[in-house]
Amino acid sequence: MNSHLSPAIELRGTSKTFRTPSGGLHTAVRDLDLVVGRGEFVAVVGPTGCGKSTTLTLISGLEEPTRGEVLVDGEPVRGIGDTVGFVFQQDAVFPWRTVLSNVMAGPRFRGVPKAEARQRAREWLARVGLAAFEDRYPHQLSGGQRKRVALAATFVNDPGILLMDEPFSALDVQTRALMSDELLELWSGTGASVVFVTHDLEESIALADKVVVMTAGPATVKEVFEIDLPRPRRVESVRLEPRFIEIYREIWSSLGEEVRITRERGAADAA
Protein backbone atom coordinates (compact mmCIF):
# COMPACT_ATOMS: atom_id res chain seq x y z
CA MET A 1 0.00 0.00 0.00
CA ASN A 2 1.33 3.47 -0.83
CA SER A 3 1.29 5.45 2.39
CA HIS A 4 2.39 8.68 0.71
CA LEU A 5 -0.74 8.74 -1.43
CA SER A 6 -4.20 9.62 -0.22
CA PRO A 7 -6.53 6.67 0.45
CA ALA A 8 -8.67 5.43 -2.44
CA ILE A 9 -11.95 6.35 -0.79
CA GLU A 10 -12.62 8.55 2.20
CA LEU A 11 -15.97 9.54 3.70
CA ARG A 12 -15.88 12.31 6.30
CA GLY A 13 -18.93 12.94 8.44
CA THR A 14 -21.19 12.10 5.52
CA SER A 15 -24.96 12.17 5.85
CA LYS A 16 -27.65 11.55 3.25
CA THR A 17 -31.28 12.49 3.70
CA PHE A 18 -34.00 11.57 1.21
CA ARG A 19 -37.42 13.06 0.82
CA THR A 20 -39.96 10.25 1.02
CA PRO A 21 -42.95 10.17 -1.36
CA SER A 22 -45.24 11.09 1.54
CA GLY A 23 -43.22 14.29 2.08
CA GLY A 24 -41.29 13.26 5.18
CA LEU A 25 -37.53 13.12 5.50
CA HIS A 26 -35.67 9.86 5.72
CA THR A 27 -32.06 9.81 6.85
CA ALA A 28 -30.35 6.80 5.27
CA VAL A 29 -26.79 7.53 6.37
CA ARG A 30 -25.58 9.74 9.21
CA ASP A 31 -22.11 10.98 10.20
CA LEU A 32 -20.38 8.26 8.27
CA ASP A 33 -16.59 8.05 8.52
CA LEU A 34 -14.92 5.44 6.38
CA VAL A 35 -11.50 5.00 4.83
CA VAL A 36 -10.66 2.47 2.14
CA GLY A 37 -6.97 2.10 1.33
CA ARG A 38 -5.60 1.53 -2.16
CA GLY A 39 -6.07 -2.03 -3.28
CA GLU A 40 -8.00 -2.85 -0.14
CA PHE A 41 -11.06 -5.10 -0.10
CA VAL A 42 -13.57 -3.73 2.39
CA ALA A 43 -16.83 -5.48 3.16
CA VAL A 44 -19.69 -3.52 4.67
CA VAL A 45 -22.19 -5.55 6.69
CA GLY A 46 -25.28 -4.37 8.44
CA PRO A 47 -28.91 -5.20 9.02
CA THR A 48 -31.13 -5.17 5.89
CA GLY A 49 -32.38 -1.76 4.83
CA CYS A 50 -29.95 0.16 7.03
CA GLY A 51 -28.48 2.33 4.27
CA LYS A 52 -25.51 0.30 3.08
CA SER A 53 -26.44 0.75 -0.57
CA THR A 54 -26.73 4.51 -0.12
CA THR A 55 -23.09 4.53 0.93
CA LEU A 56 -22.19 3.04 -2.43
CA THR A 57 -24.30 5.46 -4.46
CA LEU A 58 -22.55 8.32 -2.62
CA ILE A 59 -19.10 6.98 -3.47
CA SER A 60 -20.11 6.35 -7.09
CA GLY A 61 -21.40 9.87 -7.57
CA LEU A 62 -24.92 8.72 -8.48
CA GLU A 63 -26.13 10.65 -5.41
CA GLU A 64 -24.68 13.64 -3.59
CA PRO A 65 -24.28 13.73 0.19
CA THR A 66 -26.55 16.08 2.14
CA ARG A 67 -23.73 16.87 4.55
CA GLY A 68 -20.07 15.93 4.83
CA GLU A 69 -17.55 14.97 2.21
CA VAL A 70 -16.87 12.04 -0.08
CA LEU A 71 -13.34 11.85 -1.46
CA VAL A 72 -12.10 9.49 -4.16
CA ASP A 73 -8.33 9.54 -4.71
CA GLY A 74 -8.20 12.59 -2.45
CA GLU A 75 -10.60 14.57 -4.67
CA PRO A 76 -14.19 15.38 -3.74
CA VAL A 77 -16.67 13.39 -5.84
CA ARG A 78 -18.46 15.47 -8.50
CA GLY A 79 -20.69 13.39 -10.70
CA ILE A 80 -19.82 9.92 -11.82
CA GLY A 81 -16.09 9.29 -11.98
CA ASP A 82 -14.60 7.21 -14.75
CA THR A 83 -12.53 5.09 -12.38
CA VAL A 84 -15.62 3.63 -10.74
CA GLY A 85 -17.14 0.23 -11.45
CA PHE A 86 -20.47 -0.79 -9.93
CA VAL A 87 -22.02 -4.25 -9.77
CA PHE A 88 -25.69 -4.07 -8.87
CA GLN A 89 -27.83 -6.43 -6.87
CA GLN A 90 -30.36 -6.92 -9.66
CA ASP A 91 -29.45 -7.83 -13.20
CA ALA A 92 -28.38 -4.64 -14.89
CA VAL A 93 -27.36 -6.15 -18.22
CA PHE A 94 -28.99 -4.83 -21.40
CA PRO A 95 -31.53 -7.47 -22.43
CA TRP A 96 -31.52 -6.36 -26.09
CA ARG A 97 -27.76 -6.70 -26.46
CA THR A 98 -25.84 -9.93 -26.91
CA VAL A 99 -23.36 -11.01 -24.26
CA LEU A 100 -20.40 -9.65 -26.24
CA SER A 101 -22.15 -6.37 -26.96
CA ASN A 102 -23.02 -6.02 -23.27
CA VAL A 103 -19.40 -6.33 -22.25
CA MET A 104 -18.37 -3.94 -25.04
CA ALA A 105 -20.86 -1.33 -23.82
CA GLY A 106 -18.57 0.33 -21.26
CA PRO A 107 -15.56 0.87 -23.54
CA ARG A 108 -17.86 1.94 -26.38
CA PHE A 109 -19.60 4.52 -24.17
CA ARG A 110 -16.15 5.84 -23.34
CA GLY A 111 -15.19 6.20 -26.97
CA VAL A 112 -12.88 3.20 -27.40
CA PRO A 113 -12.80 2.13 -31.08
CA LYS A 114 -15.00 -0.83 -31.90
CA ALA A 115 -12.29 -3.32 -32.76
CA GLU A 116 -10.35 -2.64 -29.59
CA ALA A 117 -13.49 -2.74 -27.45
CA ARG A 118 -14.40 -6.08 -28.98
CA GLN A 119 -10.98 -7.51 -28.31
CA ARG A 120 -10.97 -6.35 -24.69
CA ALA A 121 -14.50 -7.66 -24.18
CA ARG A 122 -13.52 -11.06 -25.59
CA GLU A 123 -10.57 -11.22 -23.18
CA TRP A 124 -12.80 -10.61 -20.16
CA LEU A 125 -15.46 -13.00 -21.41
CA ALA A 126 -12.80 -15.68 -21.64
CA ARG A 127 -11.68 -14.87 -18.12
CA VAL A 128 -15.19 -15.33 -16.70
CA GLY A 129 -15.62 -18.51 -18.77
CA LEU A 130 -18.28 -17.25 -21.17
CA ALA A 131 -16.26 -17.17 -24.40
CA ALA A 132 -18.62 -19.69 -26.00
CA PHE A 133 -21.69 -17.63 -25.13
CA GLU A 134 -20.85 -14.30 -26.75
CA ASP A 135 -23.73 -14.43 -29.25
CA ARG A 136 -26.40 -15.29 -26.69
CA TYR A 137 -28.93 -12.85 -25.30
CA PRO A 138 -29.15 -12.44 -21.52
CA HIS A 139 -32.49 -14.24 -21.25
CA GLN A 140 -30.81 -17.36 -22.61
CA LEU A 141 -28.34 -17.46 -19.70
CA SER A 142 -28.64 -18.66 -16.12
CA GLY A 143 -28.56 -16.22 -13.20
CA GLY A 144 -24.93 -17.05 -12.46
CA GLN A 145 -23.94 -16.55 -16.09
CA ARG A 146 -25.69 -13.17 -16.22
CA LYS A 147 -23.76 -12.16 -13.12
CA ARG A 148 -20.55 -13.17 -14.88
CA VAL A 149 -21.52 -10.95 -17.79
CA ALA A 150 -22.06 -8.09 -15.34
CA LEU A 151 -18.64 -8.74 -13.77
CA ALA A 152 -16.92 -8.83 -17.16
CA ALA A 153 -18.76 -5.65 -18.23
CA THR A 154 -17.50 -3.93 -15.07
CA PHE A 155 -13.92 -5.20 -15.14
CA VAL A 156 -13.47 -4.42 -18.82
CA ASN A 157 -13.49 -0.72 -17.91
CA ASP A 158 -10.50 -1.37 -15.68
CA PRO A 159 -11.99 0.34 -12.61
CA GLY A 160 -9.70 1.58 -9.85
CA ILE A 161 -12.65 1.47 -7.49
CA LEU A 162 -15.07 -1.38 -7.48
CA LEU A 163 -18.41 -0.98 -5.72
CA MET A 164 -20.54 -4.06 -5.24
CA ASP A 165 -24.07 -3.96 -3.86
CA GLU A 166 -24.99 -7.44 -2.63
CA PRO A 167 -24.03 -8.70 -6.08
CA PHE A 168 -24.52 -12.39 -5.38
CA SER A 169 -27.56 -12.28 -3.10
CA ALA A 170 -29.96 -13.43 -5.83
CA LEU A 171 -27.91 -16.54 -6.60
CA ASP A 172 -28.24 -20.00 -5.06
CA VAL A 173 -25.76 -21.02 -2.36
CA GLN A 174 -23.42 -23.12 -4.53
CA THR A 175 -23.25 -20.57 -7.32
CA ARG A 176 -22.62 -17.85 -4.78
CA ALA A 177 -19.54 -19.60 -3.36
CA LEU A 178 -18.25 -20.20 -6.87
CA MET A 179 -18.77 -16.59 -7.87
CA SER A 180 -17.03 -15.37 -4.71
CA ASP A 181 -13.95 -17.39 -5.62
CA GLU A 182 -14.10 -16.07 -9.15
CA LEU A 183 -14.41 -12.51 -7.92
CA LEU A 184 -11.29 -12.90 -5.75
CA GLU A 185 -9.40 -14.28 -8.71
CA LEU A 186 -10.50 -11.50 -11.08
CA TRP A 187 -9.78 -8.84 -8.48
CA SER A 188 -6.33 -10.12 -7.49
CA GLY A 189 -4.77 -9.01 -10.76
CA THR A 190 -6.29 -5.54 -10.89
CA GLY A 191 -5.18 -3.77 -7.71
CA ALA A 192 -8.66 -2.19 -7.47
CA SER A 193 -10.04 -0.98 -4.16
CA VAL A 194 -13.31 -2.74 -3.39
CA VAL A 195 -16.31 -1.85 -1.27
CA PHE A 196 -18.53 -4.90 -1.06
CA VAL A 197 -21.91 -4.46 0.59
CA THR A 198 -23.62 -7.56 1.92
CA HIS A 199 -25.82 -8.78 4.73
CA ASP A 200 -24.07 -12.15 4.70
CA LEU A 201 -21.39 -12.10 7.37
CA GLU A 202 -19.73 -15.32 6.20
CA GLU A 203 -19.35 -13.93 2.69
CA SER A 204 -17.85 -10.71 3.98
CA ILE A 205 -15.22 -12.43 6.16
CA ALA A 206 -14.25 -14.84 3.41
CA LEU A 207 -13.70 -12.05 0.90
CA ALA A 208 -12.47 -8.97 2.72
CA ASP A 209 -9.38 -7.47 4.32
CA LYS A 210 -11.55 -5.36 6.54
CA VAL A 211 -15.16 -5.80 7.68
CA VAL A 212 -17.13 -2.68 8.59
CA VAL A 213 -20.19 -3.23 10.78
CA MET A 214 -22.96 -0.68 10.33
CA THR A 215 -25.58 0.24 12.91
CA ALA A 216 -29.29 -0.14 12.37
CA GLY A 217 -30.54 2.72 10.13
CA PRO A 218 -29.71 5.57 9.86
CA ALA A 219 -26.44 3.84 9.18
CA THR A 220 -23.16 4.86 10.64
CA VAL A 221 -20.00 2.87 11.28
CA LYS A 222 -20.21 0.85 14.47
CA GLU A 223 -16.98 -1.12 14.44
CA VAL A 224 -14.22 -2.10 12.02
CA PHE A 225 -12.58 -5.53 12.08
CA GLU A 226 -9.33 -6.47 10.36
CA ILE A 227 -9.47 -9.92 8.78
CA ASP A 228 -6.04 -11.53 9.06
CA LEU A 229 -6.80 -14.70 7.10
CA PRO A 230 -4.02 -15.38 4.58
CA ARG A 231 -4.58 -14.98 0.83
CA PRO A 232 -5.16 -16.53 -1.63
CA ARG A 233 -8.34 -17.83 -0.05
CA ARG A 234 -10.82 -20.44 -1.20
CA VAL A 235 -14.24 -19.46 0.04
CA GLU A 236 -15.43 -23.02 0.66
CA SER A 237 -12.41 -24.07 2.70
CA VAL A 238 -11.59 -20.86 4.53
CA ARG A 239 -14.87 -20.88 6.35
CA LEU A 240 -13.97 -24.14 8.06
CA GLU A 241 -10.77 -22.79 9.61
CA PRO A 242 -10.78 -22.19 13.37
CA ARG A 243 -9.58 -18.60 12.93
CA PHE A 244 -12.52 -17.89 10.62
CA ILE A 245 -14.97 -19.14 13.21
CA GLU A 246 -13.27 -17.07 15.87
CA ILE A 247 -13.58 -13.91 13.77
CA TYR A 248 -17.16 -14.75 12.89
CA ARG A 249 -18.09 -15.02 16.55
CA GLU A 250 -16.37 -11.76 17.37
CA ILE A 251 -18.09 -9.78 14.60
CA TRP A 252 -21.47 -11.38 15.15
CA SER A 253 -21.50 -10.23 18.76
CA SER A 254 -21.36 -6.70 17.34
CA LEU A 255 -23.63 -7.17 14.30
CA GLY A 256 -26.20 -9.35 16.03
CA GLU A 257 -27.22 -6.54 18.31
CA GLU A 258 -27.98 -4.23 15.36
CA VAL A 259 -29.92 -6.96 13.60
CA ARG A 260 -32.00 -7.40 16.74
CA ILE A 261 -32.71 -3.66 16.95
CA THR A 262 -33.82 -3.62 13.31
CA ARG A 263 -36.05 -6.60 13.83
CA GLU A 264 -37.69 -5.11 16.92
CA ARG A 265 -38.29 -1.87 15.04
CA GLY A 266 -39.88 -3.81 12.20
CA ALA A 267 -42.15 -5.56 14.66
CA ALA A 268 -43.07 -2.21 16.24
CA ASP A 269 -43.87 -0.75 12.78
CA ALA A 270 -46.02 -3.72 11.94
CA ALA A 271 -47.94 -3.44 15.20
Partner: protein, 291 residues
Protein backbone atom coordinates in the same frame (compact mmCIF):
# COMPACT_ATOMS: atom_id res chain seq x y z
CA UNK B 1 -26.32 -60.18 -12.00
CA UNK B 2 -24.45 -56.89 -12.50
CA UNK B 3 -26.83 -53.96 -12.53
CA UNK B 4 -25.74 -52.66 -15.96
CA UNK B 5 -27.22 -55.61 -17.80
CA UNK B 6 -30.60 -54.88 -16.36
CA UNK B 7 -30.21 -51.21 -16.97
CA UNK B 8 -29.28 -51.10 -20.64
CA UNK B 9 -32.45 -52.52 -22.22
CA UNK B 10 -34.62 -50.38 -20.00
CA UNK B 11 -32.87 -47.29 -21.27
CA UNK B 12 -33.40 -48.36 -24.87
CA UNK B 13 -37.08 -48.97 -24.31
CA UNK B 14 -37.37 -45.63 -22.58
CA UNK B 15 -35.79 -43.60 -25.36
CA UNK B 16 -37.89 -45.49 -27.92
CA UNK B 17 -41.01 -44.64 -25.98
CA UNK B 18 -39.89 -41.02 -25.75
CA UNK B 19 -39.42 -40.75 -29.52
CA UNK B 20 -42.87 -42.28 -29.98
CA UNK B 21 -44.39 -39.86 -27.57
CA UNK B 22 -42.83 -36.80 -29.17
CA UNK B 23 -44.06 -37.96 -32.58
CA UNK B 24 -47.47 -38.45 -31.06
CA UNK B 25 -47.38 -34.96 -29.62
CA UNK B 26 -46.35 -33.43 -32.96
CA UNK B 27 -49.24 -35.21 -34.64
CA UNK B 28 -51.70 -33.96 -32.04
CA UNK B 29 -50.44 -30.40 -32.48
CA UNK B 30 -50.87 -30.69 -36.25
CA UNK B 31 -54.37 -32.07 -35.83
CA UNK B 32 -55.26 -29.19 -33.55
CA UNK B 33 -54.00 -26.60 -36.03
CA UNK B 34 -56.08 -28.19 -38.78
CA UNK B 35 -59.11 -28.22 -36.53
CA UNK B 36 -58.76 -24.53 -35.68
CA UNK B 37 -58.27 -23.59 -39.32
CA UNK B 38 -61.21 -25.75 -40.42
CA UNK B 39 -63.47 -24.20 -37.80
CA UNK B 40 -62.46 -20.72 -38.93
CA UNK B 41 -63.29 -21.44 -42.56
CA UNK B 42 -66.56 -23.11 -41.56
CA UNK B 43 -67.58 -20.08 -39.49
CA UNK B 44 -66.91 -17.71 -42.40
CA UNK B 45 -68.72 -19.88 -44.94
CA UNK B 46 -71.62 -20.37 -42.53
CA UNK B 47 -72.05 -16.65 -41.86
CA UNK B 48 -71.76 -15.70 -45.52
CA UNK B 49 -74.19 -18.48 -46.45
CA UNK B 50 -76.67 -17.32 -43.83
CA UNK B 51 -76.42 -13.72 -45.08
CA UNK B 52 -76.87 -14.79 -48.70
CA UNK B 53 -79.77 -17.09 -47.83
CA UNK B 54 -81.62 -14.56 -45.68
CA UNK B 55 -81.15 -11.83 -48.28
CA UNK B 56 -82.39 -14.03 -51.11
CA UNK B 57 -85.40 -15.10 -49.04
CA UNK B 58 -85.94 -11.37 -48.39
CA UNK B 59 -85.94 -11.91 -44.63
CA UNK B 60 -83.45 -9.03 -44.55
CA UNK B 61 -83.69 -6.27 -47.11
CA UNK B 62 -81.05 -6.80 -49.83
CA UNK B 63 -81.34 -3.13 -50.78
CA UNK B 64 -79.98 -2.09 -47.39
CA UNK B 65 -77.82 -5.04 -46.50
CA UNK B 66 -76.85 -6.30 -49.95
CA UNK B 67 -75.62 -9.91 -50.15
CA UNK B 68 -72.24 -11.62 -50.51
CA UNK B 69 -72.76 -12.56 -54.15
CA UNK B 70 -73.54 -8.97 -55.12
CA UNK B 71 -70.54 -7.70 -53.17
CA UNK B 72 -68.39 -10.21 -54.99
CA UNK B 73 -69.82 -9.13 -58.34
CA UNK B 74 -69.15 -5.50 -57.46
CA UNK B 75 -65.55 -6.28 -56.48
CA UNK B 76 -64.81 -8.29 -59.60
CA UNK B 77 -66.44 -5.63 -61.77
CA UNK B 78 -64.26 -2.94 -60.18
CA UNK B 79 -61.20 -5.13 -60.54
CA UNK B 80 -61.86 -6.03 -64.19
CA UNK B 81 -63.53 -2.93 -65.63
CA UNK B 82 -62.27 -0.29 -63.22
CA UNK B 83 -64.27 2.00 -60.97
CA UNK B 84 -66.04 5.19 -62.03
CA UNK B 85 -62.97 7.09 -60.74
CA UNK B 86 -60.42 4.96 -62.57
CA UNK B 87 -58.69 1.58 -62.09
CA UNK B 88 -59.25 -0.14 -58.73
CA UNK B 89 -55.56 -0.55 -57.88
CA UNK B 90 -55.15 3.20 -58.25
CA UNK B 91 -57.83 3.79 -55.61
CA UNK B 92 -56.25 1.25 -53.26
CA UNK B 93 -52.79 2.69 -53.75
CA UNK B 94 -54.05 6.22 -53.20
CA UNK B 95 -55.66 5.35 -49.85
CA UNK B 96 -52.69 3.23 -48.81
CA UNK B 97 -50.27 6.00 -49.72
CA UNK B 98 -52.14 8.58 -47.67
CA UNK B 99 -52.50 6.22 -44.72
CA UNK B 100 -48.85 5.13 -44.82
CA UNK B 101 -47.50 8.65 -45.12
CA UNK B 102 -49.75 9.88 -42.31
CA UNK B 103 -48.80 6.89 -40.22
CA UNK B 104 -45.06 7.36 -40.69
CA UNK B 105 -45.23 11.08 -39.90
CA UNK B 106 -47.50 10.51 -36.91
CA UNK B 107 -45.32 7.70 -35.56
CA UNK B 108 -42.10 9.67 -35.94
CA UNK B 109 -43.57 12.74 -34.29
CA UNK B 110 -45.14 10.66 -31.53
CA UNK B 111 -41.96 8.72 -30.79
CA UNK B 112 -39.67 11.74 -30.85
CA UNK B 113 -41.94 13.87 -28.69
CA UNK B 114 -42.85 10.98 -26.38
CA UNK B 115 -39.22 10.13 -25.72
CA UNK B 116 -38.28 13.79 -25.35
CA UNK B 117 -41.03 14.46 -22.83
CA UNK B 118 -40.28 11.20 -21.05
CA UNK B 119 -36.63 12.22 -20.66
CA UNK B 120 -36.92 15.96 -20.05
CA UNK B 121 -39.01 16.63 -16.97
CA UNK B 122 -39.37 20.34 -17.75
CA UNK B 123 -40.91 19.73 -21.17
CA UNK B 124 -43.31 17.20 -19.70
CA UNK B 125 -44.43 19.62 -17.01
CA UNK B 126 -45.00 22.46 -19.49
CA UNK B 127 -46.64 20.54 -22.34
CA UNK B 128 -48.40 17.82 -20.34
CA UNK B 129 -51.78 19.54 -19.78
CA UNK B 130 -52.04 20.74 -23.39
CA UNK B 131 -51.44 17.28 -24.75
CA UNK B 132 -54.08 15.87 -22.42
CA UNK B 133 -56.61 18.42 -23.64
CA UNK B 134 -55.81 17.77 -27.30
CA UNK B 135 -56.15 14.07 -26.71
CA UNK B 136 -59.60 14.53 -25.18
CA UNK B 137 -60.85 16.33 -28.31
CA UNK B 138 -62.61 14.23 -30.97
CA UNK B 139 -59.85 14.90 -33.49
CA UNK B 140 -61.70 13.40 -36.43
CA UNK B 141 -63.76 16.61 -36.64
CA UNK B 142 -60.55 18.32 -37.74
CA UNK B 143 -60.85 16.49 -41.07
CA UNK B 144 -63.20 19.12 -42.63
CA UNK B 145 -60.80 21.87 -41.56
CA UNK B 146 -57.91 20.06 -43.20
CA UNK B 147 -60.05 19.68 -46.30
CA UNK B 148 -60.60 23.45 -46.40
CA UNK B 149 -56.96 24.16 -45.69
CA UNK B 150 -55.19 21.56 -47.81
CA UNK B 151 -57.71 20.96 -50.57
CA UNK B 152 -58.99 17.79 -52.24
CA UNK B 153 -55.54 16.23 -52.74
CA UNK B 154 -53.76 13.70 -50.50
CA UNK B 155 -52.40 16.36 -48.10
CA UNK B 156 -55.67 16.80 -46.21
CA UNK B 157 -56.02 13.01 -45.74
CA UNK B 158 -52.44 12.67 -44.57
CA UNK B 159 -53.07 15.43 -42.04
CA UNK B 160 -56.12 13.74 -40.55
CA UNK B 161 -54.23 10.42 -40.40
CA UNK B 162 -51.37 12.16 -38.57
CA UNK B 163 -53.55 13.64 -35.84
CA UNK B 164 -55.19 10.28 -35.24
CA UNK B 165 -51.91 8.33 -35.18
CA UNK B 166 -49.85 10.76 -33.14
CA UNK B 167 -51.56 10.47 -29.76
CA UNK B 168 -51.57 6.74 -29.06
CA UNK B 169 -47.95 6.51 -30.23
CA UNK B 170 -46.97 9.55 -28.19
CA UNK B 171 -48.53 8.25 -24.98
CA UNK B 172 -46.94 4.84 -25.34
CA UNK B 173 -43.50 6.26 -26.13
CA UNK B 174 -43.82 8.62 -23.17
CA UNK B 175 -44.81 5.81 -20.85
CA UNK B 176 -42.05 3.60 -22.24
CA UNK B 177 -39.44 6.28 -21.63
CA UNK B 178 -40.73 6.80 -18.11
CA UNK B 179 -40.74 3.12 -17.19
CA UNK B 180 -37.16 2.37 -18.13
CA UNK B 181 -35.49 0.22 -15.50
CA UNK B 182 -33.68 2.69 -13.24
CA UNK B 183 -30.99 0.14 -12.52
CA UNK B 184 -30.23 -0.08 -16.20
CA UNK B 185 -29.90 3.69 -16.48
CA UNK B 186 -27.69 3.86 -13.38
CA UNK B 187 -25.56 1.05 -14.72
CA UNK B 188 -25.06 2.64 -18.11
CA UNK B 189 -24.15 5.95 -16.50
CA UNK B 190 -21.55 4.19 -14.36
CA UNK B 191 -20.23 2.42 -17.45
CA UNK B 192 -19.64 5.86 -18.91
CA UNK B 193 -22.70 6.70 -20.99
CA UNK B 194 -23.50 10.38 -21.62
CA UNK B 195 -27.07 11.67 -21.46
CA UNK B 196 -27.39 11.30 -25.21
CA UNK B 197 -26.07 7.76 -25.12
CA UNK B 198 -28.52 6.90 -22.33
CA UNK B 199 -31.40 8.20 -24.44
CA UNK B 200 -30.33 6.54 -27.68
CA UNK B 201 -28.96 3.26 -26.38
CA UNK B 202 -30.95 2.60 -23.23
CA UNK B 203 -34.23 4.52 -23.21
CA UNK B 204 -35.22 4.04 -26.84
CA UNK B 205 -34.48 0.29 -26.96
CA UNK B 206 -36.40 -0.31 -23.75
CA UNK B 207 -39.32 1.77 -24.97
CA UNK B 208 -39.58 -0.11 -28.28
CA UNK B 209 -41.88 -2.81 -26.94
CA UNK B 210 -44.22 -0.09 -25.64
CA UNK B 211 -44.06 1.74 -28.95
CA UNK B 212 -44.74 -1.40 -30.96
CA UNK B 213 -47.97 -2.15 -29.13
CA UNK B 214 -49.21 1.27 -30.22
CA UNK B 215 -48.09 0.74 -33.84
CA UNK B 216 -50.65 -2.03 -34.31
CA UNK B 217 -53.54 0.13 -33.16
CA UNK B 218 -52.32 3.26 -34.86
CA UNK B 219 -52.11 1.81 -38.37
CA UNK B 220 -55.85 1.18 -38.12
CA UNK B 221 -56.26 4.82 -37.09
CA UNK B 222 -54.23 5.96 -40.08
CA UNK B 223 -56.56 4.07 -42.41
CA UNK B 224 -59.58 5.62 -40.70
CA UNK B 225 -58.08 9.09 -41.07
CA UNK B 226 -57.40 8.56 -44.78
CA UNK B 227 -60.83 7.06 -45.50
CA UNK B 228 -62.78 9.72 -43.61
CA UNK B 229 -60.77 12.41 -45.35
CA UNK B 230 -61.54 10.91 -48.75
CA UNK B 231 -65.16 10.42 -47.86
CA UNK B 232 -65.51 14.13 -47.12
CA UNK B 233 -64.02 15.15 -50.43
CA UNK B 234 -61.41 13.70 -52.75
CA UNK B 235 -60.62 12.94 -56.37
CA UNK B 236 -59.42 9.39 -55.75
CA UNK B 237 -59.37 6.65 -53.15
CA UNK B 238 -61.46 3.98 -51.44
CA UNK B 239 -63.24 6.56 -49.29
CA UNK B 240 -64.43 8.27 -52.44
CA UNK B 241 -65.68 4.89 -53.72
CA UNK B 242 -67.67 4.56 -50.51
CA UNK B 243 -69.21 7.99 -50.82
CA UNK B 244 -69.90 7.54 -54.55
CA UNK B 245 -71.59 4.19 -53.88
CA UNK B 246 -73.63 5.82 -51.15
CA UNK B 247 -74.69 8.52 -53.59
CA UNK B 248 -76.10 5.90 -55.97
CA UNK B 249 -77.72 3.84 -53.18
CA UNK B 250 -75.28 1.02 -53.95
CA UNK B 251 -74.89 -0.84 -50.65
CA UNK B 252 -72.81 -3.56 -52.33
CA UNK B 253 -70.27 -0.90 -53.29
CA UNK B 254 -69.89 0.27 -49.69
CA UNK B 255 -69.39 -3.29 -48.48
CA UNK B 256 -66.98 -4.08 -51.30
CA UNK B 257 -64.82 -1.11 -50.37
CA UNK B 258 -64.90 -2.31 -46.77
CA UNK B 259 -63.75 -5.79 -47.72
CA UNK B 260 -60.87 -4.37 -49.75
CA UNK B 261 -59.88 -2.17 -46.82
CA UNK B 262 -59.96 -5.13 -44.46
CA UNK B 263 -57.62 -7.06 -46.75
CA UNK B 264 -55.23 -4.10 -46.92
CA UNK B 265 -55.23 -3.78 -43.11
CA UNK B 266 -54.62 -7.50 -42.72
CA UNK B 267 -51.58 -7.43 -45.00
CA UNK B 268 -50.18 -4.39 -43.19
CA UNK B 269 -50.68 -6.10 -39.84
CA UNK B 270 -48.84 -9.16 -41.12
CA UNK B 271 -45.89 -7.05 -42.24
CA UNK B 272 -45.78 -5.33 -38.86
CA UNK B 273 -45.83 -8.64 -36.98
CA UNK B 274 -42.95 -9.88 -39.16
CA UNK B 275 -40.93 -6.76 -38.44
CA UNK B 276 -41.62 -7.05 -34.73
CA UNK B 277 -40.38 -10.61 -34.67
CA UNK B 278 -37.12 -9.58 -36.30
CA UNK B 279 -36.65 -6.64 -33.96
CA UNK B 280 -37.38 -8.50 -30.73
CA UNK B 281 -35.08 -11.45 -31.13
CA UNK B 282 -33.62 -10.59 -27.73
CA UNK B 283 -36.89 -11.26 -25.95
CA UNK B 284 -37.68 -14.60 -24.34
CA UNK B 285 -40.00 -16.52 -26.65
CA UNK B 286 -42.78 -17.19 -24.12
CA UNK B 287 -43.44 -13.52 -23.37
CA UNK B 288 -43.84 -12.59 -27.03
CA UNK B 289 -46.19 -15.53 -27.53
CA UNK B 290 -48.34 -14.36 -24.70
CA UNK B 291 -49.12 -11.01 -26.21
Amino acid sequence: MPPETVHAPVAVVKSGARADRSRERARAARRRRLLVFGARVLLLVGLLGLWEGLARAEVIDPFNFSMPSRIWDQMSQWALNGTPQGPLWEQIWCTLYEALLGWVIGVLAGVVLGIALGRVRFLADVLGPYIKVLNALPRIVLAPIFLIGFGLGPASKVASAVVLVFFPVFFNAFQGAREVDRNLVANSRILGASNRQVTLQVVIPSATSWIFTSLHVSFGFALIGAIVGEYLGATKGLGLLVSASQGTFNAAGVYAAMVILALVALVAEGLLAFLEKRLFRWKPADSSDGR
